[in-house]
């Protein structure tokens, strides 16, 4: 547990270090290898897009990087904490304090208002004055007037903006985004990705994004390609990274 608290945003060690990550899923008759020997490092403040076709393994990789799941082999170190050594509850605590998420399907709690959805992670992480922070963030994403609307009363773009506000609410050191514009039309998607990139810059957050949208991927500092569970990195972005 100590290792989790020893690091800060000014640290120069990589935010994410992955070595020899392999993930297999047992099916009814045989075992499917979804990820094969993935290794990578992501530095603090970097923005990285993982691009690949459907079924290439990118969402699985994102889940493993974020500590939502544990790999069959290999290690993931997030902000200095070895995820595979942590219990599920310790992983949850790590997520509460350091990780933010944006999902393709927004994942807002339908019975809560926009404000409450944003307050929730703040309360789980034990923030003081969560409502003040949630109001500020919702104002920042342009929903200052829609605080008390439930997801059902918001459009898709608005819902994703609430989700972005929620993701940044607890001041995470790293943000994982899974196809954040996948459920939105072009224009709305553009606006949402602008917001995401802007906030990411403002907050100095490390961003790891899974997408098949080449334009969105191009806005990230680094692009990683994944195909059939194998990760590759174009040389240009490799140089940028180091």
């Amino acid at each position: 547990m100590n290792q989790m608290t020893d690091f800060s945003k000014t640290d120069t060690s990589p935010m994410l270090r992955v070595s020899d990550l392999t993930h297999r899923v047992r099916m009814e008759t045989d075992t499917l290898t979804i990820l094969q020997g993935v290794s990578l490092e992501i530095n603090r403040g970097e923005s990285v897009a993982i691009v690949g076709r459907s079924g290439s393994g990118k969402t699985t990789l994102l889940g493993l990087l974020a500590g939502l799941d544990t790999p069959s082999e290999g290690t993931v170190e997030l902000d200095g904490a070895r995820i595979s050594d942590l219990s599920e509850d310790e992983r949850a605590k790590l997520r509460a304090s350091r990780v933010g998420f944006v999902f393709q399907s927004f994942q807002l709690l339908p019975a809560m208002t926009a404000l409450e959805n944003v307050m929730l992670p703040l309360e789980l992480a034990g923030f003081e004055a969560p409502e003040k922070r949630a109001r500020e963030l919702l104002k920042r994403v342009g929903l200052g007037e829609r605080l008390h609307h439930t997801p059902r009363q918001l459009s898709g773009g608005e819902q994703q903006r609430v989700a972005i506000a929620r993701a940044f609410a607890s001041d995470p050191v790293i943000l994982f985004a899974d196809e954040p514009t996948g459920n939105l039309d072009n224009r709305t998607g553009q606006a949402v990705s602008d917001l995401l990139m802007d906030l990411n810059r403002e907050q100095g957050t490390t961003l790891v994004m899974v997408t098949h949208d080449e334009r969105l991927a191009a806005r990230c500092g680094r692009q990683l390609h994944i195909e059939a569970g194998v990760l590759t990195e174009p040389e240009a972005t490799q140089e940028l990274a180091h």
Binding site: T59, T60, L62, G63, A66, L68, D69, E88, D89, R91, A92, K93, L94, R95, A96, S97, V99, F101, F103, Q107, L109, A111, M112, L115, E116, N117, M119, L120, P121, E123, L124, A125, P130, D178
Partner: protein, 828 residues
């Protein structure tokens, strides 16, 4: 409000459909159980209160030895806060007008009756009125027949022994006008203080002292515990439950109420289990998200546990809020039915099973699926994960089964009830497994197409898991409801059969042997033919296998029959409603042997072959027991503990004859002419007793019906909960089918067919399982005889098919009325 607190808000929960279903199920469970328990307790009180009026008290102590009991006994009763009263009963000749007549006198104290009312008239033409105390000193109330026999009128004087008393009222009905053979002659009621001045009671006179007690049951029981060691064999302590005629009916009614309560518990449990499982499924995404946002597993468990506790509080409060007005309404109905106000009695003990039901429902049925929520992987936020295979739920089912039967046992305290229901449910599950297997095997081969039948069959196969689960719940619900309906109707049939409208309501006693033919032809000509006529010889059972019977029988077997003279008879044929349980009935020409009533045989430990010696007058008769038979005591026909063969042990004994018959109320005047023609024959009018029993049966019947209605309502809610659980899936499929070009009529037909098939099989399985449960219940608890109920087995599957088909059609409503596009978007 903090957002995480909001996770715990009932108002927020209420916005979710599945929570509404869970809450409604708990509210219904608590409401049904509380209403039934409250009403059963009230009914029992009312019934016992109305039945105790048969004793004119809560308890009676009879001294049959002709001696009053010590004053100290009554003092003790009063010091324990009991109300007391006393009566003296004896037979004597009275004089009045020009004649004299043997009468049965009941002399009562001021307090009589402690329970119930006396019905009187001030003249033959005056309306009947009820009073709550007997005649004062110097007064006498008489049976109208006595006035006719003696040609007297109200206001005349009647000489009872040496006392001259004023006839002030006509005595129509006394609350404790039970079926006593000592009360053969017309009744005269007087004040107990006048008894001494009659000088009728001498040393050795045949007289009964009867003491009345009323008060709290606990005080009565404590008093009896104090009194019991001092009682002599000739003392008889009687409560309403000892009275053979009514105890059976009461007991069976009570059992029925308990059964109803148990079934309500089962239905409630099913509803809660179904709804909470549905709820747990719907919560998976939320849990995955909360985990992603950093809520640890124990936080999830705590969150949902607290939530369940909250539902429990709301469910219990809501249930009680529903139960109280419902209970009040039932009491009003009862009061209307009885034609008198009923004191509302809110028994706090009756609420315990309701609370217990709520807690067990929550923690044995709602909690297990919710408990597993903490195992939902956080990864679910990114990608839907395989759902539960059902194997995880196996321990839940075990917990549920144990909890269900624990509850039923706790509630009914009858193992046979638990076994009957458990057996029925097991059978049901076995049948379901078979149907499931057949369904898989047959339906797998069906290919889809434009035909409604094929679409319906494919639908059943495609939803096989949901279909089987729904079928299980429907079948279970139908089984429980059908069990209740079957037991109810057979219970009512039994009562009806025992007390048909033309049940004998008059007894003729003391018919001289030579008058039997004349008496028979008299009533034949009056259109009221007699039932069988039996000879009657009074005697005591004095020896058992040569040993004095009081020594031969253990002291515990304090049998009333040993303390008084028994009515012995002889008969060639076994009466229709008697049944031989051991030995053989007399064959033609047999003159040896005696047939003994089974309960008495049990109490005395008699077996076929034992030798019984009877003392009849100065003579002794010894016969072997050749058979043991059951007797319908509540048949209102002459019944005998001991029956001899014609020409057997009683052949030379002086006998009088006894019979019973049904006399229409409008034909009562025929009794006057009969009494004039046959002055020595005693007429015993028991029409009012029959009326009373029918009243009790009526009360119980309406209570049973009210409870049945409640349970059926609960069953309906269970079904609605189950069907609506899959509402979204079905609506989405319907919308898709329409989008893909399916015609509305095809959609309607295939859906209705699918539901009809589901309903038919569920109904069939449910009805068969109900039959087996009823078989066990009938043969153990309700002592009825079992027969197949085709009138239930056949319609239940048909009705359930029809109902479900209509339900399916109703569900399709939005699919048909809204554009598929709009619907699909709404269901997203």
């Amino acid at each position: 409000m903090e957002a995480s607190k909001k996770l715990m808000s009932v108002r927020r929960d209420w916005r979710e459909r599945d929570v509404r279903v869970v809450l409604v199920a708990i509210i219904i469970a608590v409401a049904t159980v509380a209403t039934i328990a409250l009403f059963a307790s009230q009914l029992q009180r009312t019934l016992v209160a109305s039945a105790t009026t048969f004793l004119a008290a809560d308890r009676q102590l009879e001294a049959e030895n002709g001696r009053p009991i010590p004053d100290a006994w009554m003092e003790e009763a009063r010091s324990r806060g009991l109300e007391t009263g006393r009566m003296v009963e004896f037979s004597t000749m009275v004089f009045g007008g020009e004649g004299f007549q043997l009468v049965s006198v009941k002399a009562v104290s001021n307090e009589y009756p402690l329970r119930g009312e006396i019905e009187v008239q001030t003249s033959a033409e005056a309306p009947r009125e009820t009073v709550t105390s007997g005649p004062g000193p110097g007064e006498v109330w008489v049976n109208p027949r006595l006035l006719r026999l003696l040609e007297l009128n109200i206001g005349d004087t009647l000489e009872v022994g040496k006392a001259k008393l004023d006839i002030t009222r006509l005595l129509i009905r006394e609350p404790d006008g039970g079926f006593r053979l000592s009360a053969l002659a017309p009744r005269v009621m007087m004040h107990v203080d006048d008894v001494a001045s009659t000088e009728v009671i001498q040393e050795g006179s045949r007289v009964e002292y009867i003491y009345l007690f009323a008060g709290e049951t606990s005080a009565l029981n404590e008093y009896y515990a104090w009194l019991q060691p001092q009682l002599e064999p000739s003392h008889e302590w009687e409560g309403v439950r000892d009275s053979e005629t009514f105890s059976d009916s009461l007991e069976r009614a009570e059992r029925f109420l308990l059964l109803g309560g148990s079934l309500a518990v089962l239905l409630a449990a099913v509803a809660v289990a179904v709804a909470s499982r549905q709820y747990a499924i719907s919560q998976r995404d939320t849990v995955a998200l909360l985990k992603t946002l950093g809520l640890p597993g124990h936080g999830i468990s705590r969150l949902y546990l607290r939530r369940l506790a909250l539902w429990g509080v709301v469910g219990i409060a809501g249930g009680l809020l529903v139960a109280l007005p419902l209970f009040w309404l039932l009491v009003q109905t009862l009061s209307d039915l009885l034609g008198r106000p009923v004191d509302i009695h809110l028994d706090p003990n009756a609420l315990a099973p309701a609370l217990m039901t709520a807690l067990v429902s929550l923690f044995a049925f709602a909690y297990p699926p919710v408990r597993r929520l903490r195992n939902v992987p956080a990864m679910r936020v990114l990608r839907s994960q395989p759902g539960e295979t059902g194997r995880e739920a196996l321990p839940d089912i075990a917990i549920a089964v144990i909890a269900i039967f624990g509850l039923v046992w706790l509630y009914a305290r009858e193992w046979s009830m638990v076994i009957a229901l458990l057996g029925g449910l097991l059978l049901l599950l076995a049948a379901l497994a078979l149907v499931g297997w057949v369904m898989m095997a047959v339906l797998r081969r069906v290919r889809g197409g434009g035909n409604a039948w094929r679409l319906a069959l494919v639908g059943l196969y495609r939803h096989r898991r949901a279909s089987l689960a729904q079928m299980a719940v429907f079948a279970m619900t139908l089984m429980l409801a059908a069990t209740l309906i079957l037991v109810r109707s057979s219970l009512l049939d039994d009562w009806q059969a025992q007390l048909p409208d033309d049940a004998p309501n008059h007894f003729l006693i003391n018919i001289a042997p030579e008058a039997v033919d004349d008496v028979e032809s008299y009533w034949q000509s009056e259109g009221a033919p007699l039932d069988a006529v039996y000879p009657m010889v009074r005697g005591r059972l004095t020896e058992l296998n040569g040993e004095p019977v009081k020594e031969a029988v253990t002291k515990d077997a304090r049998v009333g029959a040993l303390n008084r003279e028994l009515n012995l008879t002889w008969m060639a044929d076994l009466p229709d409603d008697n049944r031989i349980v051991e030995g053989e009935w007399f064959v033609d020409g047999q003159t040896q042997g005696v047939s003994v009533e089974s309960e008495l045989a049990d109490q005395l430990g008699l077996q076929v072959g034992d030798r019984l010696t009877f003392t009849i007058g100065a003579q002794k008769v010894t016969e072997p027991v050749t058979s043991i038979r059951t007797v319908q005591w509540d048949s209102m026909k002459p019944n005998f503990y001991m029956a001899f063969p014609p020409g057997g042990g009683l052949a030379d004994m002086p006998a009088t004859w006894i019979t019973s018959f049904y006399l229409d109320a409008g034909n009562k005047s025929a009794l006057n002419e009969f009494s004039r023609q046959f002055p020595t024959v005693s007429v015993l009018e028991i029409d009012h007793i029959i009326e009373r029993i029918q009243q009790i049966v009526g009360q119980v019947t309406s209570a049973i019906e009210a409870i049945l209605a409640l349970i059926l309502a609960a069953a309906f809610v269970v079904m609605a909960a189950v069907v609506s659980a899959t509402l979204r899936d079905r609506q989405r499929e319907g919308a898709l089918l329409r989008t893909l070009g399916g015609r509305q009529s095809l959609l309607v037909r295939s859906t209705m067919l699918e539901f009809a098939l589901l309903g038919f099989f569920a109904g069939l399985i449910g009805a068969l399982a109900a039959e087996s449960a009823v078989y066990v219940l009938q043969s153990t608890l309700f002592e009825g005889t079992f027969r197949w109920h085709w009138q239930v087995i056949i319609p239940i599957p048909l009705v359930s098919a029809l109902l479900l088909a209509l339900f399916g059609r109703w569900q399709l409503g939005p699919v048909l009325s809204v554009s598929p596009m709009l619907l699909l978007r709404r269901l997203e």
